[in-house]
């Protein structure tokens, strides 16, 4: 028995397992901010990453341009045919915008959930062990990025800001498995149907929109956008298109499988959306006196 405890290797192993569990517990708990050594390391490597990734980006862009050249003729043809419609559409949009502004002025509500300020950022890295779907971008708290802001590409929503450092931040993609990550969304049909974007089917590569009330009329091909109701994301960011609708495991709600508009791979440039409308404070939601418990 004493020999058992004298075994140095065994003790090292046991101690390191205890440290491991403690460290994992420390990093898994709900954290508002990373500790400063982590931020420092992340910023330093972020600098090295952008040093390497920017030239690579440039070279990859060059080859992509070469490929694009091959399709130029066909694309040009198609774009020209669309251009005819564009002029009338633009005039319509202008008129509608003007109308909308006037009506809002009458109501006295100037800002909506829809308003946001886009902040362009470049992707400088991606998590190589592909369990945690995360990318690293080259803008941080000095550029005004805050936790939980929505991140979009030209084709739609891709995720939210998970952690912010001074010069870089990490984005958690929608394809990550995280039960805490739910986004309120609207399926746009004849009527608005609300649901929650929750989870990702890795094998089919589809997003799952859950908690849609049974009996809601949803068809294939309808678009899903964010609702802005969570108080974090702006309204009207494209999530994707409905592919399939099925009842959930208890038969009380519907689950829609949605093909994401944005590609979760091959992301180079993203936009972080700064919401303009004031976020609800905690004091708005709770009565100041009833805190605690």
């Amino acid at each position: 028995m004493p020999q058992f405890f004298l075994n140095k290797r065994l003790i090292i192993l046991l101690v390191s397992i205890i440290v491991l569990v403690a460290l994992i517990g420390f990093s898994l708990r709900e954290r508002n901010k990373l500790s400063w050594p982590e931020q420092f390391v992340k910023d330093t490597t972020g600098w090295a990453q952008s040093l390497v990734s920017k030239p690579t980006n440039y070279i990859a862009g060059f080859f992509e341009n070469l490929q694009d050249l091959q399709n130029t003729y066909n694309e040009n043809k198609e774009l020209k045919s669309r251009l005819d419609n564009l002029v009338s559409l633009e005039a319509q949009v202008q008129a509608l915008k003007k109308d909308n502004e006037d009506l809002r002025a009458v109501l006295g509500e100037e800002k909506t959930l829809r308003d946001f300020e886009p902040l362009p950022a470049t992707v400088i890295g991606r998590n190589p062990d592909r369990w945690h779907e995360m990318i690293i971008i080259d803008k941080g708290s000095l550029n005004g990025i805050k936790k939980n802001m929505a991140v979009v590409t030209a084709n739609g929503l891709i995720g939210k800001i998970k952690n912010v450092n001074k010069f870089s931040s990490t984005v958690q993609l929608l394809s990550a498995t995280d039960p805490k990550n739910r986004i309120s969304a609207i399926v746009q049909g004849k009527t608005k149907v609300y649901g929650l974007v929750e989870g990702y089917d890795k094998e089919k590569k589809l997003l799952m929109v859950k908690a849609i009330p049974a009996g809601a009329e949803i068809e294939k091909g309808q678009t899903v956008i964010t609702s802005g109701l969570g108080g974090i994301f702006p309204e009207g960011l494209l999530v994707g298109k409905v592919v399939e609708v099925k009842p959930d495991q208890y038969g009380l709600n519907l689950t829609a499988l949605v093909e994401p508009g944005a590609d979760f791979y091959d992301i180079k440039n993203v936009m972080v959306t700064k919401k303009i409308m004031r976020e609800a404070d905690v004091t708005d939601l709770t009565d100041g006196k009833e805190e605690g418990s």
Binding site: S16, Q49, V52, N127, H132, M134
Partner: protein, 172 residues
């Protein structure tokens, strides 16, 4: 200058892994395959095999911690598993003789241990809900093949470099 060569090499591999994943097209090798580069870890295992246990474990711990902080944001997983597997491999290499083919097989074995270990840990903390069989088909085989290919290509230069390094250490 020579002193900084190894850390720089490992740092470079550390960054290349992220670039590799970023620029790899979604279905480059068939649909539904998840390829995970472990170039950094392959180099660490070669260091353990050709230079020594102590060096290997120190590098494994440092870069495991760096990997955790920068890419995973859960500290502990790679910090623990990189040195642990380096240690296991060094124990195995005490029995076997050190040559290229044995080193290749040992590294692929270490890679498989790493993947399974990380999968089990992630399963435990609910980062993934993949079942074991689909994990093997979706991730393990493609990942092992990718990294085996990397070792075949980069193994010989790495071996040469590390043997020179070990020689320099012995002279000191």
């Amino acid at each position: 200058m020579k002193k900084f060569l190894l850390p720089l090499l490992f740092l470079f591999l550390f960054l290349v892994e992220s670039l590799f994943v970023q620029y790899l097209p979604e279905d480059a090798f068939g649909h539904n395959r998840i390829l995970v580069p472990h170039f950094l870890f392959a180099a660490i295992l070669f260091l353990t095999i050709f230079v020594g246990k102590k060096q290997g474990i120190i590098y494994a711990a440092i870069f495991g911690l760096l990997f955790d902080i920068v890419y995973v944001e859960i500290i502990g997983i790679y910090l623990f598993i990189y040195p642990f597997i380096s240690y296991v491999i060094s124990k195995i290499m005490q029995i076997l003789q050190t040559n290229m083919i044995i080193a290749f097989l040992a590294s692929v074995f270490g890679m498989a241990l790493l993947e399974v270990g990380v999968y089990e840990m992630n399963h435990l903390i609910h980062v993934t809900n993949l079942d074991f069989m689909s994990f093997v088909n979706l991730r393990l085989y493609p990942t092992l093949i990718l990294n085996a290919a990397f070792i075949v290509i980069a193994g010989y230069p790495l071996k040469r470099l590390f043997e020179k390094h070990a020689e320099a250490l012995r002279v000191e």
